[in-house]
């Protein structure tokens, strides 16, 4: 792997460089490339600008300390960063309250176990990047509300002034579409892979 100065390096490579070489320059580049979006994500989840920066700081320190747990074969760098900001958000809201559920309870640290379909997810990671774009607006809107607002179906129904059944069927359609799409991609990739050998 080399970090080419002319081309912005891929996040995945930066994370690997941080893990393998404790590379502070790669860390700075990763910060430059992602900090403004991590902050934006936290604010979309309801954090104030100040809290979002505190969360961002904790995320980046976790990136530095846990970079070795990143496995490029199980997902993209941005997905790994997503899991960090998600977990830090959970723990931020429960700071010091260890009688409450912490992100470590819900998601064990990587133990090196590969998922069963690791080859497929490796392929998925490199090619399937825009699953959300295939969703119609009305379905995407619901996915947003699930991820950013943690809304239940009935709350979403209230927000959008729609019957609960409509929300449920839209979400089900979205799931089905994403699943079918992922499987199609996977099938194509496996065909491509097989014909290349």
């Amino acid at each position: 792997m080399s970090l080419d100065a002319n081309q912005p390096p891929a996040l995945d490579d930066l994370i690997v460089a941080i893990a393998q070489h404790r590379d502070k320059r790669a860390f700075q580049q990763l910060f430059q490339a992602t900090a403004s979006r991590l902050k934006a994500f936290a604010m979309q989840c309801g954090a104030t600008a100040a809290d979002a920066e505190e969360l961002l700081q904790e995320c980046m320190l976790t990136v530095w300390r846990k970079a070795h747990t990143y496995n490029p074969k199980s997902g993209t760098g941005i997905t790994w960063l997503y899991t960090i900001v998600r977990n830090k958000r959970i723990d931020f809201a429960r700071k010091g309250k260890y009688e409450m559920v912490q992100s470590d309870d819900l998601w064990p640290e990587e133990t090196g176990e590969e998922l069963e379909k690791d080859v497929a997810s490796d392929l998925e990671a490199s090619v399937v990047r825009n699953m959300l774009e295939i969703l119609p607006d009305e379905q995407r809107q619901i996915v947003f509300k699930v991820y950013f607002e943690g809304k239940s179906h009935s709350e979403i129904a209230n927000d959008l002034d729609l019957p609960l059944g409509t929300i449920k069927s839209r979400l089900r359609l979205a799931m089905k579409k994403l699943d079918t799409f992922a499987k199609e991609q996977m099938t194509w990739l496996i065909i491509i892979l097989l014909t290349n050998f």
Partner: protein, 217 residues
């Protein structure tokens, strides 16, 4: 082999980190046993990654990077709570996500009896929406026929039980709601221990059910 799984909606909420504490723990316990749900959750994490990728950037304070760089060589704070992923010999049979919330192995818990053959243990999980309990049904015995006012999410941790809809074994995730009327029966082989999270108390339907009901609510 795990045969009963959480719905896609539940897995998406889990991957979004947006589940109520107790419900999140049931899903996490299931995931520990279920490679296919771990795989499916990876898909929903991927969607989370896309949402992050597409977030409209917000300007970050100038000095933040310097502040972070100055902390890189600090020792990380000591974790001052017992981590869930430390394997405690005495609690081997308790699913990893629950180890911080359960003081001892199943046989040493302070079970309270609903009847000689049905016991429960209430977990101290702070959750405004759900109550979390273990149920233990003695081998070969059954719960009184009952239905539910709300939703009950159950994970089989040990042994197995069956009702008219199916047989459930360790790792299986079972949802019962107001439309379910069932009479779960533990297998003859061993006691069945389940982790159940409920958003409303059970509503017993049979004679013994009505008799038992006041103790449940």
């Amino acid at each position: 082999m795990v045969n009963y799984h959480p719905s896609d909606e539940l897995l998406m909420q889990f991957a979004a980190g947006q589940q109520s504490d107790a419900l999140g723990l049931v899903i996490a316990c299931h995931m520990e046993k279920c490679a296919s749900c771990r795989q499916r959750t990876a898909l929903y994490n991927h969607i989370g990654g896309e949402l992050l990728d597409h977030s409209t950037p917000v300007e970050v304070s100038d000095n933040l990077l310097d502040a972070i760089m100055s902390k890189l060589d600090d020792d990380p704070e000591e974790r001052n709570f017992e981590a869930g992923n430390i394997v405690l010999e005495t609690k081997q049979c308790v699913p990893r996500p629950l180890r911080r919330f359960v003081p001892d192995e199943f046989s040493k818990l302070k079970w309270s009896g609903l009847s000689p053959n049905i016991k429960e243990y209430r977990l101290n999980i702070q959750d405004p929406h759900y109550t979390a309990k273990f149920y233990k049904i003695s081998a070969g015995k059954e719960l009184p026929q009952h239905t539910h006012r709300g939703n009950e999410f159950t994970l089989v941790m040990q042994g197995s039980f069956s009702d008219r809809a199916g047989d459930y074994h360790a790792g299986d995730f079972v949802l019962a709601d107001a439309t379910t009327i069932h009479q779960p029966k533990a297998s003859e082989m061993e006691d069945c221990i389940c982790f159940a999270v409920t958003d409303a108390p059970l509503k017993m339907t049979g004679f013994f059910g009505r008799f038992l009901n006041p103790f449940l609510s």
